[in-house]
Amino acid sequence: MAMQMHHRAEELMAQADALFLRGDGGGASSLLAQAAQCEVDAFFAAPIEKVRTRGILAASAVSLFRQAGMPIQAERVAHRFLAEEGVPDETRAGLEDALNDMRAEQIEQAQGRTLTPDRFEWSLKGNSIGIGTAPMALVSHKIDQIQKYATRVVEYVSGEPLRTQQPLSDRVRDSMSLLMSQPMAGSFRFALRLSVKDEQMQMFDGSKPDGHQVVRDPSEVGTKFFAVLQAVLDDDQTTLEAKVPEADYRETFVHLVRNMIPDGRELASMQVTRLGIDNPSIAELTPKHRAPIDKRIKSLRPTRAKSIAEHELVGLLRAVDLNSRTVKLGPPRHQRVCHAEDDFLMVADVLEGMLDDPVRLTGRPTGGTGFKFSMIVPASRDELEEYQQAHERDGGRLALEAPRSLPSPDQPLMLRSGEDEEAPDD
């Protein structure tokens, strides 16, 4: 009897597929709901010792109700199955996951928001990553960088001009948010989903009275998020320019992706999989991406006179002052302040995403301890250590100061230990 009901469910699933193919989503959903009920009946008709069968039927029933667009029924039967004996532990865990998903969707709906079908699953791997565990500071830092990138994508898709110093507008903040699932088993993994504010459709076009666009199709954000990320990782300039014609936004995206690249020490790779769409995609961020992206960033800078020798500083980024266009490099006992070149595109969240991390500044000494930078990118802890070892003087104290006199172009930057001294404005 139980298996007859299951066979009926199989027939209904096949018929639903046929209706989907013809574009009759409503009819297909109705058949899926009937198939779900058949699976429920089959579950309760199956003997309790048929544990594996009951597990498959329970999973199938909940899944079918969800596919049919009936989350309340799905939730109800999931609870009934969980209250039963003779359900495998793995199925119980899967049903709990499904319930969590459905609850998240309901919470968003209650707040006038909708979860988009896109799901970005991130997987972190490296020496400091355990099975389902990871250093909190590392994870929160990476999530912060991902959020900064995602927020920029939302702003870009919304037609906002590039924001350099201003805070995120209320309109964008209210329109979309990023939700994170609980970590999953395996290497440290978590999923992010976009939540979109439900807005009444505009009668004539997508424009708001202030000229901004409404994100009509939230999946556009996910598509742009992934396409830009992939183009930067592949160093595919043609695709990147096609996806982001605006040079300032393009440069900002390249920097934000660069910030997310693992340093290879604590974190060896970050893999992101975009799910919930017809063509799931996968991309992997590894330290090998650093050099090509740095080269790309370098090429984006305005051309400098060849007579100006460029030098590099490596240190911890301790502070960013957007008003005075300066950054403060550590370590704490030997901080130094460096000024941005006038044509340096100083974008708040690009720099904030590197705070308390090693960075490499490229620029020119300006006399005294002065240094003007035209490029700043993340550096690894190894680079920082190498730099410190190469420039240790005076009993091992680290010095980050530029020489008192300008070096010749072929002379390496000589560094000496010194006092905490701010770079003078030149």
């Binding site: 298996m3 299951h6 066979h7 199989e10 699933m13 096949a14 597929d17 046929a18 989907f20 193919l21 013809r22 574009g23 198939a35 699976e39 048929k50 594996r52 069968t53 597990g55 498959i56 039927l57 329970a58 999973a59 199938s60 029933a61 909940v62 899944s63 079918l64 969800r66 596919q67 495998p88 532990d89 793995e90 199925t91 899967g94 049903l95 996951d97 499904a98 998903d101 079908p117 799901r119 997987s123 999953m184 395996g186 999989t273 799910l275 919930g276 769409i277 017809d278 063509n279 799931p280 995609s281 996968i282």
Partner: protein, 169 residues
């Protein structure tokens, strides 16, 4: 197998090829060609497969099931929702497989050799894109409500055409 899965496969293959045609089946580095013949779809059938993504998905079911039968000696004995599905969510369908020489018992899901088949279809893809898709499918066999049942993943690409198979660890 329902007839319309075969029709979907014919339409998806027909975008690139004419019958008969060899279909490669790849497991690891080994590739083996198989002869495939299909009836050309009628105009009505083509119109019925207007949704390209669904046609690719359902056509992939047909080719994947044929490939696991011919190459791995496994036959489809049923299906259940709860796999990762074409959108990679835990709301799709999985096929359930048993060795082809096994007589299918009533409670076939209790059979110790039961496996599930996760299928993904691509109209055109580079080797890198096929590998990426396989990686996604293999990752996903470890998730979802049916993750405790051993799985085989199949990625079907229609322009070559090639069916790539891999066992989930």
């Amino acid at each position: 197998m329902e007839g319309f899965y075969a029709v979907s496969a014919a339409v998806a293959l027909g975008r690139h090829h004419k019958s008969p045609r060899t279909v490669d089946v790849q497991v690891g580095q080994a590739v083996e060609p198989y002869d495939a013949e299909w009836r050309a779809p009628t105009e009505d059938e083509k119109r019925g497969c207007a949704n390209e993504a669904d046609t690719t998905c359902f056509g992939a079911y047909a080719l994947a099931l044929a490939a696991v039968f011919a190459h791995l000696g496994l036959k489809a004995v049923g299906r259940a929702a709860g796999g990762t599905g074409r959108k990679g969510e835990g709301t799709g369908a999985d096929w359930l497989l048993l060795p082809a020489d096994v007589e299918v018992p009533e409670w076939y899901m209790e059979h110790p050799d039961i496996r599930r088949l996760e299928v993904s279809g691509q109209d055109e893809a580079t080797p890198g894109e096929r590998n990426s898709r396989m990686k996604i499918k293999l990752n996903q066999t470890q998730q979802g409500t049916l993750r405790h049942i051993p799985a085989t993943a199949a990625v079907v690409e229609f322009s070559l055409p090639i069916v790539t198979l891999a066992q989930a660890s």
